[in-house]
């Protein structure tokens, strides 16, 4: 039986197990919207297409499934670009369907025509312009396959209106035929063996884990290997949650994980940056040695041999020279390594590592993460500690970008993978709130909290309407310092306290704003109000916007000045 393109679209999504689409209509996709009510797929109508892309991203990061968004041609498509680039930088599987003008009009500067394939080429894993109805099902099949396999990433599918209106036989392809696409999953056993030889002799190893651990669901393998070789673990921002910061025993008592170093890099902990810089081996898994991690590259891990697992060969030896490259899925490589270590007695591992772990403990005690307490004004770090205390390790936290994001990374203490969703690579202000909505769609019963700044929240505040209209009970914590705090801190430290452009006085009253949208607004102005506001908000089954008036000129510490080695931390 022949079907229209618009119907085939939904049949394909069903085959892919899609349960929700984040979208916004327009002329080019009205055939799809016309067809939509006949299908059992939830549609979340956003208020800005950037929001749709970030929601699909938040849905994907929290669940591991592919997120989907649907927008119209022209401005609808261009509005998704920031969301696509955000997903690309952090390897998030989303498929973005964009409407396009009918094929005979392509190239004529038709109304709402834009070359979205051209615009997004550098920030997608792949993209398709579907020129023929007979290609539609194959393209959709491939798009989902590409998005979720290998190193995941965003795929754009551009759908001309006449193609969506045309008809063909529906037969979902069983297999994909992509002769140029063969991601290496199975790690080379010889390389894994070399890694083991180096690791077992190492006196001062550090495991450095990134987003790849979370994407490949390798948390338990990572914990196993760390325990087997008694090596301390640090994470990039993207890796947080991939290794538990604390361990909860059967009685529910949570203790700090002795092998956990905290985050590394520009705002890393003292012990993590020192450990990396004094290590004799760095065992890196699912990271890409971003400049925010390495600081001055020539002084990064000066005495270490580097072992690096990554599914993307182009991440290896891109920024730092690697001694043992291992191309493959983190899970596969770690499992092989665990087998090698289990096949050999490793009792002496703990003894070899003792002096190193003692040294690390000393660093930890010398300069722990801290902030000056104050009983008159709310400290942003205190709010984060309180959220952690009340929400527990199961809540999903998203962040915007700025100081609040870094304090979250430092102070929240993530114990589980996929509980921190944050724009690491692109650093997109405005990511966290729509991402929280996406995550809440994937986990309706979980507590989902966006930790936001007063600047960032205004970048996608319109999605409050989306949350209210669709009963998506996300919580937003605004750490309101009336500044674009991160630029302000840089201006304080590196630009002679010239605060041009970073003062945010004049923002709306967020409590009233929440009410205007039909959400709940709460405010805390004194430290003693913090806990009660949080507890009240977490009980409400509606979207809640909380405005925490925090100390204005608080800094994020440690901080490594740009261009400096990561040992050159300013500690306060």
């Amino acid at each position: 039986m022949k079907m229209k393109g618009s119907q085939i679209f939904f049949e394909c999504l069903k085959k892919e197990g899609v349960e929700v689409i984040f979208g916004f209509p327009g002329g080019a996709v009205l055939d799809i919207y016309h067809e939509m009510p006949k299908h059992d797929i939830r549609h979340i109508l956003v208020r800005h297409e950037q929001g749709a892309a970030h929601m699909a991203d938040g849905y994907a990061r929290s669940s591991g499934r592919v997120g989907v968004c649907l927008v119209t041609s022209g401005p609808g498509a261009t509005n998704t670009v920031t969301g696509i680039a955000t997903a690309y930088m952090d390897s998030v599987p989303i498929v973005v369907f964009t409407g396009q003008v009918p094929t005979p009009l392509i190239g004529d500067d038709a109304f709402q025509e834009v070359d979205i394939i051209g615009i997004t080429r550098p920030c997608t894993k792949h993209s398709y312009l579907v020129r023929n109805i007979n290609d539609l099902q194959t393209v959709i099949r491939e798009a989902f396959y590409l998005a979720r396999t290998g190193r995941p990433g965003p795929v754009v599918v551009d759908l001309p209106k006449d193609v969506i209106q045309a008809q063909t036989e529906f037969k979902y392809p069983k297999k994909v035929d992509l002769p140029g696409y063969h991601p290496t999953i199975e790690a080379h056993s010889g390389q894994v063996k070399r890694a083991q030889d180096i690791l077992k002799k190492s006196k001062s190893p550090v495991i450095f884990a990134g987003g790849g651990i979370i994407i490949s669901d390798s948390t338990s393998e990572l914990m196993q290997i760390a325990k087997l070789i008694q090596a301390p673990v640090t994470c990039s921002l993207m890796g947080l949650g991939g290794f538990p910061a604390g361990i909860t025993d059967a009685g529910g008592l949570r203790r700090p994980n002795p092998l956990w170093l905290g985050m590394v890099g520009m705002h890393g902990t003292y012990q993590a940056n020192m450990a990396i810089s004094h290590a004799d081996v760095i065992f890196a898994a699912g990271v890409r040695f971003d400049d925010r991690v390495t600081g001055k590259i020539s002084e990064f891990a000066p005495s270490a041999r580097i072992i690096h697992i990554d599914v993307d060969p182009s991440s290896i030896s891109k920024n730092v020279d690697v001694d043992v490259p291992i191309v493959g899925d983190c899970k596969n490589a770690l499992q092989q390594l665990i087998r090698l270590f289990e096949a050999e007695p490793v009792e002496n591992q703990a003894a070899i590592r003792r002096p190193w772990l003692e040294q690390i403990d000393k660093w930890r005690k010398d300069h722990p993460l801290t902030y000056s307490k104050d009983c008159n004004v709310i400290k942003p770090q205190y709010v984060i500690e309180k959220i952690r205390e009340i929400a527990g390790s199961d809540a999903i936290i998203t962040t915007e970008v700025g100081q609040h994001q870094m304090w979250t990374a430092q102070f929240y203490e993530f114990d589980r993978p996929r509980t921190l969703l944050t724009s690491g690579g692109l650093g997109t202000m405005g990511y966290g709130f729509p991402a929280a909505i996406g995550a809440q769609m994937a986990f309706p019963d979980k507590l989902v909290i966006d930790i936001a700044g007063d600047g960032s929240i205004q970048m996608n505040i319109q999605e409050l309407c989306t949350a209210v209209c669709n009963d998506i009970p996300v919580k937003v914590v605004i750490l309101n310092n009336k500044y674009l705090g991160l630029p302000r801190q840089w201006q304080e430290l590196f630009y002679e306290k010239n605060y041009t452009g970073s003062c945010l006085e004049g923002s709306p009253d967020f409590v009233k704003l929440a009410q205007a949208y039909g959400a709940v607004g709460l405010r805390a102005e004194k430290p003693e109000e913090v806990e009660s506001v949080l507890r009240e908000a977490f009980k409400i089954k509606k979207p809640v916007l909380m405005d925490f008036v925090v100390s204005r000129e608080e800094g994020v510490y440690p901080i490594v000045p740009p261009g400096k080695s990561i040992t050159e931390m300013l500690l306060a």
């Binding site: 550098p122 792949h126 020129r131 140029g180 182009s314």
Partner: protein, 166 residues
């Protein structure tokens, strides 16, 4: 990071002949700041497959990134790093030279030595076709330059790995 010397590298790329594939390759080079010295592309004997030969400059680290990044493009079937394999390469050039009474004989002698061909003749100009490796083309251009070159069109290099099919 060990920085090696900048060098010229020839890379072969076998791609699916689908719309936009060249844009993806060229966009990758411009977006990541790699250099393209020459690029040639045409269909192969296998339907749907195009072979591209690209000459770039960079150090070894850049070359290795280029190859890895190219391999990530979905429509690319295979990338040949000719720094690693023996290969043959040829380039063709059309050269329009001034051919006045006094210089004609000299031009024809050079044509002969280089096994070039005169493909067009007009009152004052000869247009020559010459094929060879880059060194040969450069050499003939050098010699003819002393007589008077009007215009040159070079195809850029086409290359194949030697011996067995890859």
């Amino acid at each position: 990071m060990i920085i090696t010397e900048k060098q010229r590298y020839t890379i072969g790329i076998l791609v699916q002949n689908v719309p936009g594939v060249l844009a993806r390759i060229v966009g990758l080079f411009s977006g990541r700041g790699y250099n393209i010295e020459t690029i040639t592309a045409a269909e192969t004997n296998e339907p749907g497959l195009t072979r591209i030969t690209l000459v770039t400059t960079g150090d070894e680290r850049v070359l290795s990134q280029i190859i890895k990044q190219l391999n990530k493009l979905i429509n690319i079937i295979k990338v040949y790093d000719f720094a690693e394999t023996e290969f043959v390469d040829r380039e063709m050039a059309l050269i329009k030279v001034r051919a006045e009474q006094a210089t004609r004989a000299e031009v024809l002698r050079i044509v002969d030595i280089f096994r070039a061909k005169v493909v067009d003749v007009s009152a004052h100009f000869y247009t020559l076709e010459v094929t060879g490796n880059e060194g040969k083309i450069n050499a003939i251009l050098e010699l003819l330059g002393q007589i008077g070159i009007v215009e040159v069109a070079r195809t850029g290099k086409a290359a194949l790995a030697r011996s067995k099919k890859h």
